[in-house]
Subunit: 211 residues, 4 copies
Amino acid sequence: MHSPAPTPAMTVDDQQRAEALIECARDFGQRGWTPATSGNYSLRLDDGSILITRSGTDKRKLDLDGLMRLDPAGRPIEPGRASAEAGLHVQIYLRCAQARAVLHVHSPIATVASRRFEAHGAMRFVNYELLKAFEGVSDHDLEFELPVVGNDQNIDRLAASIEPRLGQAGTLPGYLIAGHGVYAWGRSVDDAARHLEALDFLIQCELSDNR
Amino acid sequence: MHSPAPTPAMTVDDQQRAEALIECARDFGQRGWTPATSGNYSLRLDDGSILITRSGTDKRKLDLDGLMRLDPAGRPIEPGRASAEAGLHVQIYLRCAQARAVLHVHSPIATVASRRFEAHGAMRFVNYELLKAFEGVSDHDLEFELPVVGNDQNIDRLAASIEPRLGQAGTLPGYLIAGHGVYAWGRSVDDAARHLEALDFLIQCELSDNR
Amino acid sequence: MHSPAPTPAMTVDDQQRAEALIECARDFGQRGWTPATSGNYSLRLDDGSILITRSGTDKRKLDLDGLMRLDPAGRPIEPGRASAEAGLHVQIYLRCAQARAVLHVHSPIATVASRRFEAHGAMRFVNYELLKAFEGVSDHDLEFELPVVGNDQNIDRLAASIEPRLGQAGTLPGYLIAGHGVYAWGRSVDDAARHLEALDFLIQCELSDNR
Amino acid sequence: MHSPAPTPAMTVDDQQRAEALIECARDFGQRGWTPATSGNYSLRLDDGSILITRSGTDKRKLDLDGLMRLDPAGRPIEPGRASAEAGLHVQIYLRCAQARAVLHVHSPIATVASRRFEAHGAMRFVNYELLKAFEGVSDHDLEFELPVVGNDQNIDRLAASIEPRLGQAGTLPGYLIAGHGVYAWGRSVDDAARHLEALDFLIQCELSDNR
């Protein structure tokens, strides 16, 4: 199906990252976090290009053929159609220099929270031990925010509304889009997955306190 | 157990569809969507006949022997007793020309919603990104309805009450029957399963907002 | 560990029933219905004796060694200590002539319901399609009750309080004990398991409507 | 990775306990009780030393390399960094002479309860049959308490606030730390796991009654 395009080869490290991403996608799929072929995932490779899930595939069954390459600006360097939200992945890699993996899922709990907290513009997590799961957090006794932005089918406009929320002090490495789902990122697939798991946990706890 | 009746052979495509249906039934069973041998599933085959689950079997263990053939009007063309609700499947195939698979489950969440929203006659889903999982939906910023009808042990009467709700503009490819469960359909087993998964997700989100 | 006591041999049918019971125990254990080694299960064998789980074993790992024989009055005819609640199993077999399998689990949902509905003395299920999962129920448009009795560490006294609730018209083949869990039975392991699964479903739906 | 330090050999019984602990960690991980590499587990070995999980590992994938030895006072006798909360494990072994295994998880339900009941200083469980899962409890008709203490990043101070709550009459072998999670212990991995499972069950029931 792929034309023999001169896509640059992946390094051995890249290949291991891709395997980790596939394992992560299958695990999250089993948890019901990517219903109805939703969700999308990406990696920043060693040469700066981006490996991202193709549009419309079942993420529970992700394999290498379900991933394609974009250049750092988000232009395809391989045949195929990338996830419609590739622009949000590109934005995160541009703004967060250390991000190497971006994960986006539609867990029911994140979606419910994204709607309930849209008017607040953020969820606030205070005094949770699990905040220590986020890289760089060592003192649990702080307040962290997870931004919540409105949804928009125009990805450029959506990215623009997210832009001022990225990289602020006291903000966790992720955000919610109302009625849509949750994004999280990190220095590696493991870090990003740990962050997403921690966000799911924190959101679940807060929802139980905000019925 | 089967007499050597002259049931027409299935095409290779039909056989693949049947395998997909069986896999889907087992997956949904594992999720607890077909408790106590409930639920029923069908396919429209290439010759227009219908392959449907037999009555009273455990859908978590569905195999080819658990399926039987009906003609397009719903009359058995093979020995055995089809699901009591075969008439609803036949109706969907008659009214929705492109439907090739119909899935009906009794997930607790669909049953709770079916009772809570019976008086409204429908559930309404607004501004959910996951609405894009439904075929033909491209603009998330619309309002979609899932019809809710009262239950009736008389299948003809039940079908008559559903009839005016099928194929309306702004209506999703499925419906709830009060105290009973959810139906969904699509052009293929994959499409129907994606639709059912999306409905389960949307219903779950709405119930969290309507305690 | 077993002395070579003259325990009567099981028939081939009995052995198949025992295998079905073990499979059922493992399945229910995986669902979290028998936390902390709780729950107990039994069969009435072809000679009228009772095969029941031993006390204190992890039901997720049930095997033949975890089962022992009682005579129809509940007296051990094999070395070992039967579940403390064997008396309730014996009572069901005495009062319900067709019961061949009795299943008792501690699912969180049944326990919550047992406490919430103790003062009512019963849970009432109206117009649920899934009521048809119970043997003999053909018209869904009826009202069925599941008795709820207070707990008692004295099994004879507990049995006495259950006695008047067994076998009444309009009563499902099961009951709840407050703060304790749920019992269900049937003509076979499959029937009893289907009944228990249906009760779990119905209780779950009612709890969602009675927060 | 390990230097050839003269760490005392484990007995055959110790090795079996370690295997049981690993199996338990994987099981609890599958249930979602140790999100984002949280949770920690330990054993008291036959020579009085402590085998405890290393810091920051994914407990769903625990193996022998993920465990390290401390002396009875909590000082490492092997290279590596133990869980930050090792001090709480040491305290339990010192105060509860019969404790041989300590399990700590971050289940969402325990975390929600720990915050909701922090002001009460305890959760109270009355008339639950499952209280009999705790060693030494034979009469269900009593009232038991699970202490709830405030969280503190200073482990010595946290231990000091727990100290008066350990080993009191009518208190279960465990406690909650607010916004953090649940500890449980027992004479063996099986006992401690049964206690933790019972606590999770009881907490779940109480939360349903205290929305």
